[in-house]
């Protein structure tokens, strides 16, 4: 379990060096996206007006405030990723995104894409928006404003983390592994609770 301090955008080499349970902190640009952003990009076929090559993307619907022409952060947290799983392989394969940040992980298809193209899933601590918000230095740009709070956001972050590598570019998936281990332990747990084979459900 190693700790890395990186700079975005990321290279394939440094992403492929990461392993499940490593910890990552990074500085630099971070793009915020959510369900509507990706529906707009993929289902409705709008090409992003900015390059996402090598960039990290975080699943969020940020609370922002517009002051004159600038956007200010109010409260930025992270949402569950699984419902956006179907967009992730293209985010990685088509647009070159090298890190997807969220909570709960993604599925097999995304894991395959990470292996093929060199990308990772970084798990953020859910519920810690106060910390996350503080690590965002500024909101550099908001693209596709009409989709707010599910637009395409460019944040600039410093010491963003701790992020746990939960899916790496070598086929490992920490959420699956932890779940499989829990499943293995269940028979003994049931027995200790006095749950026999007879029990329904």
């Amino acid at each position: 379990m190693a700790t890395y301090h990186l700079q975005s955008p990321f290279t394939e080499k440094e992403i492929r060096r990461l392993r499940v349970t490593d910890t990552v902190y990074f500085d630099g640009p971070l793009f915020g996206i959510r369900d509507l952003t990706q529906i707009y990009m993929f289902d409705q076929k709008h090409i992003p007006p900015v390059s996402l090559e090598g960039m990290p993307c975080i699943h969020t619907a940020p609370s922002l405030r517009k002051v004159n022409d600038r956007w200010e952060k109010v409260c930025v947290g992270t949402t569950t990723s699984t419902r956006m799983d179907r967009f992730s392989p293209d985010l990685i394969g088509k647009y070159g995104v090298r890190a997807i940040i969220g909570k709960g992980g993604l599925y097999e298809g995304s894991l395959e894409a990470m292996k093929k193209y060199g990308a990772v899933y970084l798990a953020i601590v859910g519920g810690a928006a106060a910390l996350e918000t503080q690590q965002i230095q500024e909101v550099e740009a908001v693209y596709w404003e009409h989709l707010h709070p599910e637009a395409l956001y460019k944040f600039r972050v410093r010491d963003f983390g701790p992020l746990t590598v939960a899916m790496d570019s070598h086929g490992r998936h920490l959420y699956f592994e932890v779940k499989e281990e829990a499943k293995r332990r269940l028979p003994e747990i049931y027995q200790k609770l006095g749950v026999g084979q007879r029990e329904r459900g």
């Binding site: 349970t21 601590v125 519920g127 910390l131 709070p149 701790p162 920490l174 499943k183 609770l193 459900g201």
Partner: protein, 293 residues
């Protein structure tokens, strides 16, 4: 007949919502600290440390801990010693919740269930969720507020078992529910279990269970023993903080019970995430307000 200015209730409703979102109860903080002490998995320990930093920042800046402002729930206990006006209370709680949203301001999370239009008020049809109960001989109006986040609420489960399935089936159901939910409800939090009642009451019992201070045991020794057993069982699965592996998957299991029908055996699970938010106020007829948890 003494006059009471119900504006006090409206102001308290607003204050409760904001307090709950920004200031974690001391019993929750302490439970998280103790959990961190016991945790041996290095990834899990780092996750706890990030949680503590988030709490610290929220304390310093008087800001939201988590971005999910949740659905507002007010659990009201009316003291029978004073002629409190229930309709006024209900109306004022609604206004107070909306004012908290507009005036703090924070993101409203309520929506029409079909059109999915968000009024940005945190309230709407049948929201806030308000429950009333009564305290004999007291004059006080006791209001507990829970902003219930969706990550955990979406993991709610309920089942109507047969009496013949026994208590073992209920225990298995709780363990299985927690197994299925994995890291989704942002563990380690409080797992509320309801046993008995009708289908709607059992779910409400589970919700009442999560607002009990962490680790406060059910008064019935048999139920308290079940709470301990289930805590051990859930931690033994090893899902850990955020479902990324670890020794501590829950801070506590709380069980609330009610009598039920002779041919029913209902059970419900309602999970509260690690920022187990709640706030409380006691309002006196002379207008004094005492805030707490």
């Amino acid at each position: 007949m003494r006059d009471f200015d119900y504006q006090i209730v409206e102001d308290a409703a607003k204050e409760l919502y904001i307090r709950a979102l920004c200031d974690l109860p001391p019993d929750v903080r302490e439970a998280l600290r103790r959990a961190h002490e016991k945790e041996t998995n290095p990834t899990a320990r780092e996750i706890f440390e990030a949680m503590f930093r988030a709490i610290e920042i929220a304390d310093e800046q008087k800001t939201l801990i988590c971005q999910d402002t949740g659905l507002p729930i007010y659990m009201v206990k009316i003291g029978s010693g004073f002629p409190w006006n229930g309709y006024e209370i209900k109306t004022r709680l609604n206004k107070g919740a909306e004012r908290a949203t507009r005036e703090f301001p924070f993101r409203g999370s309520s929506t029409h269930p079909l059109t999915r239009k968000n009024p940005q008020t945190s309230v709407g049809e049948r929201l806030p969720v308000i429950t009333f109960d009564y305290i004999k001989d007291a004059e006080v109006l006791d209001i507990l507020m829970v902003p219930k986040g969706s990550g955990s609420e979406n993991m709610s489960t309920m089942k109507m078992f047969y009496p013949a399935d026994g208590v073992a089936a209920l225990k298995k159901f709780v363990v299985d529910s927690v197994f299925e939910s994995g890291g989704n409800p942002c563990p380690p939090g409080i797992i509320g279990v309801g046993i008995g009642g009708t289908a709607d009451l059992v779910m409400r019992l589970a919700k009442e269970a999560i607002v009990r201070p962490v680790g406060q045991r059910n008064e019935d020794p048999q139920v308290a023993e079940m709470e301990r057993e289930l805590e051990e069982a859930i931690n033994a699965m090893g899902r850990g903080p955020m479902g990324l592996g670890g020794d501590i998957s829950t801070l506590a299991v709380h069980i609330e019970t009610a009598y039920t029908h002779i041919t029913q055996n209902p059970v419900a699970v309602n999970t509260q995430c690690w920022p187990a938010r709640r706030s409380r106020v006691k309002i006196h007829p002379d207008g004094r307000v005492e805030y707490g948890y």
